[in-house]
Symmetry: C2
Subunit: 454 residues, 2 copies
């Protein structure tokens, strides 16, 4: 049994609580004891505000290499995608492991206890399998283990090169850069993912299913993938309606919105997470809410890629759960990510407090754990996963906060730089603002230039 004493902890509700002891054993929280105004003997003191560890529900680890490198040109999402494909083309199991380990460790340093890695770079450039067809997925799983954070590897089905109204079945063949993403068919995808799950599923690693998008997967295959997910009690993630062009092309070829396509294929339920949904229609939003599905908003990426501002208020009002992801890692800061959901509503509705602080804190924690299949994580209650993070309240950003407003100060003014501690599955991962085992900046400095010049 290990004990931690939290100066302040958020146990749910609108405010933090002073003086909380968290007792941990076997990777779980055994007990929560309140009204402990001083650290009991033997307890590790955590000064500042302790939150459930943050959940990064949508990540493409390799995009970290693009940070600061795509900003200057006037252009669109689609021009950015070309740059992103250039990095995807040079990845191999070794350099991908190194890059992802540093990217996941950067997440740990920002208080993130679990990441949903949306993974579609499966095979060799050109499409031939590696000796182990799951070599790339195994690299990602090893990277997350090295970084000490929980991983849901969302292995993504990718079959087509986008909509093409004039093609026989409505889809273009894969572009050359996309060939390494594809397994050829949903059956081959499912076989490979079964193997992967057998190899990596464990106490801090899960495999989930993903469909890249309605652009890359036809409705029949979407249905098959969704049934695989349901049969394996695995989370099911899909990129959807990030860009107006996808909606237009989908309507042209399939006569429906992307979300309607997913729903009709049987892919919309309480274990489904729709990524983005930026341009969801009013009818889409009703469908998502009725299904009790989850939407993962990635506002710092959606800003960066000129996607737009997603309809978070309408989605929440319809009954959808919301969570957040740092996606392209333009920045990795779930405080900035979470407040951006609310601030995006404020600049479009010209009204404040659309999502209250408690709702925002749940997006960053419990809802993300739920989206990634860790239903017992993201909250500080007895029996939950022992995943929590502590932010110092002694930086200039948070000084002046008190018990009554510490949670709101964290959500609206903290930076990832304020994270002092992270515990995942009962194991310390970040202590005193440093990762316990990885010199993250040096690793990023070593690997990124190699990827960008090769």
């Amino acid at each position: 049994m290990t004990s931690y004493w939290c100066e302040l902890a958020w146990l749910g509700g609108p405010r933090a609580t002073q003086g909380v002891v968290i007792e941990v054993a076997g990777g779980r929280i055994k007990a929560i004891v309140s009204d402990q105004l001083a650290p009991p003997p033997g307890a590790t003191p955590l000064r500042g505000l302790t939150l459930p560890a943050l959940a990064n529900a949508h990540s493409h680890a390799f995009h970290r290499a693009l940070r600061g490198r795509t900003q200057d040109e006037r252009g669109t999402f689609w021009i950015w995608r070309d740059l992103m494909y250039r990095v995807a083309a040079v990845l191999d199991p070794d350099n991908y492991h190194r890059l992802a380990r540093a990217a996941f460790a950067e997440m740990a340093l920002a208080g993130i206890g679990v990441v949903g890695e949306f993974h579609y770079i499966h095979h060799r450039p050109g499409g031939d399998a590696y000796d182990d067809p799951n070599a790339m997925g195994l690299s990602l799983a090893a990277a997350a283990r090295d970084a000490g954070i929980r991983l849901t590897l969302l292995d993504a089905l990718y079959l087509h090169g986008g909509f093409a109204a004039d093609a026989p079945f409505g889809y273009a063949p894969l572009m050359e850069e996309q060939t390494r993403f594809s397994d050829g068919s949903v059956t081959e995808w499912a076989d490979r993912v079964d193997d992967l799950a057998a190899m990596i599923a464990g106490p801090i690693t899960k495999v989930g299913a993903a469909v890249h998008s309605v652009r890359a997967v036809d409705p029949t295959s979407i249905g098959t993938a969704a049934r695989w997910a349901a049969g394996n009690q695995a989370p099911f993630h899909v990129h959807v309606s990030e860009q107006p062009a996808e909606n237009r092309q989908c309507f042209e070829v399939l006569g429906r919105t992307p979300i309607a396509v997913i729903s009709d294929a049987g892919g919309l339920g309480p274990d489904t997470t729709l990524i983005h949904a930026t341009h969801a229609s009013g009818k889409d939003i009703v469908m998502v809410g009725e299904a009790g599905a989850i939407c993962c908003l990635c506002p710092t990426t959606e800003r960066d890629l000129a996607d737009g501002i997603g309809p978070s208020e309408a989605l929440a009002a319809a009954g959808a759960r919301l969570c957040v992801g740092s996606d392209s890692h333009a920045v990795v800061d779930l405080f900035e990510e979470t407040r951006a959901v609310e601030l995006g509503q404020r600049v479009t509705k010209l009204e404040r407090g659309v999502h209250n602080t408690e709702a925002l804190a749940e997006m960053a924690t419990r809802n993300g754990y739920r989206s990634l299949g860790w239903k017992e994580g993201g909250c500080l209650t007895p029996g939950s996963l022992a995943d929590f993070t502590t932010i110092g309240l002694d930086s200039v950003r948070l000084a002046g906060a008190d018990t009554a407003n510490a949670l709101a100060s964290a959500i609206f003014a903290a930076s990832g730089a304020d994270v002092h501690h992270l515990v995942v599955g009962g194991r310390p991962v970040v202590v005193g603002g440093n990762h316990v085992s990885i010199d993250i900046a040096s690793e990023l400095d070593a690997i990124i230039p190699k990827l960008m010049t090769s």
Copy 2:
């Protein structure tokens, strides 16, 4: 003569330069020497990227006390204003000095070398003057001197309690909370500001003129204040069109937009800075551009207060200069502030690279210095003010950046937490990430709770 060696420095243009020596004497840059790949003997090494010091062109120092305290309620700008007035009501020359000193030091720690403090809390609650009618302004000037940063004290004229279509001259009387803002007439304001300038103007302090807004000052008085500014070669700042309600009421009472009112009063010229201009009309934008005026965008505040997203692309295209301000200090991070200008355009136009990196870097530096009347600041050239700041490139946020993209990485991914050094007027103010003389967080912790409970 003091020498600094910069590993990387931004000397203008789209990219940083490697190995730059800055020679400083008498508070000015005497020489810039490039191609110095190692520190010469005696030079202080500045590892990372050195930029001109950042300019915070719009600040209300006392709003720092509200951080994290107004977020939870559903509401509008006007409800927030009531909360803000409660803090304004408890300020006196002593506690205002303490709060502002910590707030200005927080700015220094974020790389800010000059602040434009938009100052309107002049008198005692109820409106009687302090023994020295400039007691509050003197407190602010002392606070900036203590914090080591340059100050333009924009002393604001405030006469009326808002538009009132049914009142004889179209303006409501002052609300009780507003009485301490007013000098009674523009003549009394000008007399007081003359006295203030005589007392505080000096090497790191300037006095500028401000009109609170077209809500608070009638057109005739706006004209008089603008002439005072022109006669004193002082910058002239006005809050304008932050909220649609101001536009509507202004049109109802004066038959014109707020910007047209300022222009007709003779208040729109190259030394004018319009604060916000969020809801400027197409015609307004043409006027602003033709006048060569400056617009100060405060996007982190404009997000927070549900103002909306200002028309930065149209303003720049029309010929306006743009700069930025942290305004309400919801966060004090001019990297976040500056990228928010561009990212706001991306989410509304669904296009990337609207303002390029160089233009954004100029908003954060030279344009802000220009707005605040320091025409020789905000750039690293011989003869300029010796104001510069260095950000480390060794945090997880910026690791992986190289010479070609260090500037873009700073603008799009840095946090105020990455600032390691700040020199203002040749004097070190922040060294190794710490303020040279002020324990900022302790000071904020000491003063804010007193203000919030009194």
